[in-house]
Amino acid sequence: MLAEANLIDSLQDFTWFYRGVPEESPELRDVVENGEVRPRRPGNVGEYARYCHSINEMTDTGYTSWTIDRGIAEELARFASEQAGLSGAIVIFRVRIDSIDDSRVFEGLAGEDEYLVEGIVEGVAFSEGVDDDNDE
């Protein structure tokens, strides 16, 4: 599950990584202003950080979670918004998989088609919908 193998080749049939968050998330500002998603603790990387992040979602790490399934990103974002008592409104970020260096991508939870990306993720935009994503 936490292997450091090169995963990009196995993702060649997919174009985008998706990440869903509540509309109120402070991550929006970085995406709007800089097209970036930043991990919470950039210096906290390595096997143990990935163990904490992926196995039990302790996300004070140098990684952020992404998925190749936009529906999963929506569902997870909606859950977080509802639990936190927020508006229920969500946004979905996307980034081209082939824009990220192999060495920064790690496998996460298989059930969620989750991938962990190390460091600041650049070139992030908003996903308006599957149709829009398929057009590019």
Binding site: Y51, E57, M58, L76, E82
Partner: protein, 139 residues
């Protein structure tokens, strides 16, 4: 940027626990959105926190619900003490069981061993996947 809102209103785990705690005369730490599909309680003075994560029945996963993880923060190193699962929708009986564990860990400051024993008696208990070699675990 397009936002999506399906307008659903339903009892959540965190609101159910907060209400049950209030009825019992105490308060639980607040939670923040913490990642994609997860929330984290603020760290207590005893350096403890809890994460709540949504698990989806997709692909290799056969479970559809939520997972709680009880953590201790020691010297900047988070250590996973125990974890357990619940159904997606909170029911009265499961709220009582989960509140007992979360309160025991965060408020009553049970020891790690005491907490593991209590979680082991929960129907949703999960074995803690061992951390990578060379990493200490809480006792």
């Amino acid at each position: 940027m397009t936002t999506m809102n399906d307008g659903r209103q339903k009892q959540t785990w965190l609101s159910a626990l907060a209400e049950a705690a209030k009825e019992q005369g105490f308060e639980l730490p607040t939670y923040d959105v913490y990642g994609m599909g997860s929330l984290r309680s603020v760290t207590t003075l005893g350096n403890r926190f809890v994460t709540l994560k949504r698990l989806l029945r997709r692909g290799k996963s056969e479970f559809d619900g939520v997972e709680w993880a009880l953590w201790q923060q020691l010297d900047e190193q988070p250590l996973l003490v125990a974890c357990f699962r619940d159904a997606l929708e909170p029911k009265h009986e499961s709220v009582e069981l989960t509140l007992k564990l979360v309160k025991g860990w965060l408020v009553d400051e049970w020891s790690a061993d005491e907490t593991r024993r209590a979680v082991a008696g929960n129907p949703g208990t999960q074995s803690v996947q061992p951390p990578p070699v060379g990493v200490a675990v809480a006792h």
